[in-house]
Symmetry: C2
Subunit: 341 residues, 2 copies
Amino acid sequence: MKKKNLAMIGCGTVGQGLLRIIAEKKPDLNVVAISDKLKGAIFDPNGIDVSKMLDVLENDGKIEEYKSASKKAITGLDPIETIKNCNADIMAEMTYTDIETGQPATSYIETALEQGMHVTTSNKGPAALYHAKLAKLAAKNNVQFLIEGTVMSGTPVFNLARETLTGCKITEVKGILNGTTNYILTKMENEGWSYNDALKKAQELGFAEADPTADVEGFDALAKVVILSNYLLEGNIKPDEVPRQGINEISLENIRSAAEEGLRYKLIGSTKLEGESISAYVKPVKLDLSDPLAGVGGATNALTFNTDLLGEVTIQGPGAGKIETGFSIFVDIMTILRQDS
Amino acid sequence: MKKKNLAMIGCGTVGQGLLRIIAEKKPDLNVVAISDKLKGAIFDPNGIDVSKMLDVLENDGKIEEYKSASKKAITGLDPIETIKNCNADIMAEMTYTDIETGQPATSYIETALEQGMHVTTSNKGPAALYHAKLAKLAAKNNVQFLIEGTVMSGTPVFNLARETLTGCKITEVKGILNGTTNYILTKMENEGWSYNDALKKAQELGFAEADPTADVEGFDALAKVVILSNYLLEGNIKPDEVPRQGINEISLENIRSAAEEGLRYKLIGSTKLEGESISAYVKPVKLDLSDPLAGVGGATNALTFNTDLLGEVTIQGPGAGKIETGFSIFVDIMTILRQDS
C-alpha cells in the first residue's frame, strides 16, 4: 500500500500539536506540505522531517527556516496554491475560526475536496455555516469530510456516534461545550468568587480571550450546538435560528440561591429532535445534582447523547488544548487511513 | 456483496434483545441459526424470519414452535453441532456466564473461531479466563473476536478505545462496573437505607440475584477488571491475582462519616500500568466529589480512561439490560460487517 500524503493548512497551536503527535506516534504517513499565513509555507513531495520542523517552530522560527534535504522542496506557496499543487491524499485544515463568515477556511476545504482530498478540520466556522454544501461536495468527490475537533477537541463525539453507536438513533444531545464558562461557574460556586474575578482568572490562565464575548455570551457553544444538530441529528439549521443566552448575567447570588435548592448552574447547549424539526438552545440551566452534567467541574467538557437503544450515554473529557485538539485531527486521519486502504 | 450469515448461540434475555434490534433496524444480515439449551434450536440456510421468531419467544414458546417456510430447516442441533453445520460468517455467543470455568461458552467460541467465523460475545467467562488463547486462535483464523458487551453492556468501552482513541496509549482504566452495588450505595447515602434494606430492594427490582455474592462481594467487577487489563492494557493477568473487596462490609455509618468529610463511597474496579506490570484492584473507595465517578448514581456504570494524549476521558451509561446488552452484540456485528466487506 502506498504511503498516504498529508497537507497541513494552518500551523499554529493545533498544527504544532498534530506535528508533535506525528513525531511521537510515527503513523504511516508523509507530511508533504505545510502552509500558514503567519509562519510561511513549504511543499516537499519527498516528505517533511516532522521532528526537524518542530525544532524550528517551537523556537518561534518560520517554516522557511526548516532546511529541506530535498531539491524538490518549494517554499512560499499560499494555502490555495499549496492545496492545488501538493497532490496530497488528505488535507488537515487548522486555521483560525471566523464564525461570521467561515472564511478563509471554507475556501481551503472546498478546494481540497474538489481536488479529491479527504479533509479533516477542527474549525467550527465551515462546519457550522456550510455543513450541507461541504457534505455534498465530499460525497460528489467520494472522499470524507471529518470534523472531530470542532466539538470537545479530541474527546470522542462524532467518532463516538459514528463508530460506537452504529445503529442507535440519537434523539437529543446536550452538554457543557465551553470550558471557559464552566471554569467561571465552578469558581463562583466553589470559591465564592464574583463573575468578574473568575473571568479575570480565566483570562490570566489563558482559557479566556482578552475579549471574552464569544465564550461568556454563548457564541462558541452556539456554533457547537449548530454543528451537533446538523451532523448528529441530520438537521439543517443556522446559527441565527438558535436562542442564545450566556452566563454574563449570572450573579453569585443566583448561584447561591440555586445551591440552596440543591441545584447547580451550568451553561448548557442542547439540541433535540421534535418530530421532523429540531429544537435547540444555549442557556444557563439549573441542573439537579444527579444529572451527569452537574458534576462536571472546571474547564472540562461533557456531552449526553439520548439514544433509542442505550438511553443516556455521557462522555466527559478535555474541551481544548494543543495536544488534545491536535489529537482530534490525528484520529480523523487514522479513520481515513483505516478506511481508504 | 454477499449477505453475511449469523448464528446465535444462546437465546435468553440478550439473544432476544438482539433479535428485537435486528427486527427493528433490519441490517444486511441473515440469521441462519439459533441454538439455546433451554429453548431448543433451528438451523435454516435460507434465513430465519426474525419477527416471527420473536412472536414465538416473547410468548414463552420454544424455538421449534417457529414455523419455517423452508424445507431445508433443521431443528434440534445442539450449540456445537449448530456451529459446525451452519456455515455462518459470524457467531454471537450469548449463553450464561460461568466465571469459574468459562464453560461451555469457551468451547463454543473456540469451535466457531476454528471454523473461520468472526465471534462476538457478552460473556465475561471466556474473556476473563482465556483472553490470550482466544485472541491467538482468532488471529490464526484471520477473524475478529469482539467483546463489547462484557463490560458496561452496550455502552462503548472496547469500541471507544479501538475506534475513537486510536493512537492514544491508555495507562489506567477505573470505574464503576457493577450496577447493583452502585444502586445499593446510592440508596444508602441518599435515602439513609441500611445495607440490607437496599440489597432487598435491588433484589425486588431484579438488579440483584437471590444469591447476591457475585455482585456485593465484587466478583462481577473483578472479572471486568481482568478483561479491561488484558484487552486495554495488553496485560495477561488472572482473576486470582487481583485483590478484591466488596461492599458487604460497608455500613451506613461508614457512608455518613465519609459524607461528613465531603467524600462518597463507590465500589471501584481499577487497573493501571506500572512499568511493565499491571496493578489492579476491586474495592470500595472514598472519592472526592469532584471525581467524575463520584456523581454516577443508581444502577448506572462509568469508566475513566487515563491516556497520554487526552488525559482523562470518562464514559457513563447503562451497565445492563436486555436491549442495552443486545446492542453490544449488534454493534460488534456492525463493526465486523464494516470491516469484512
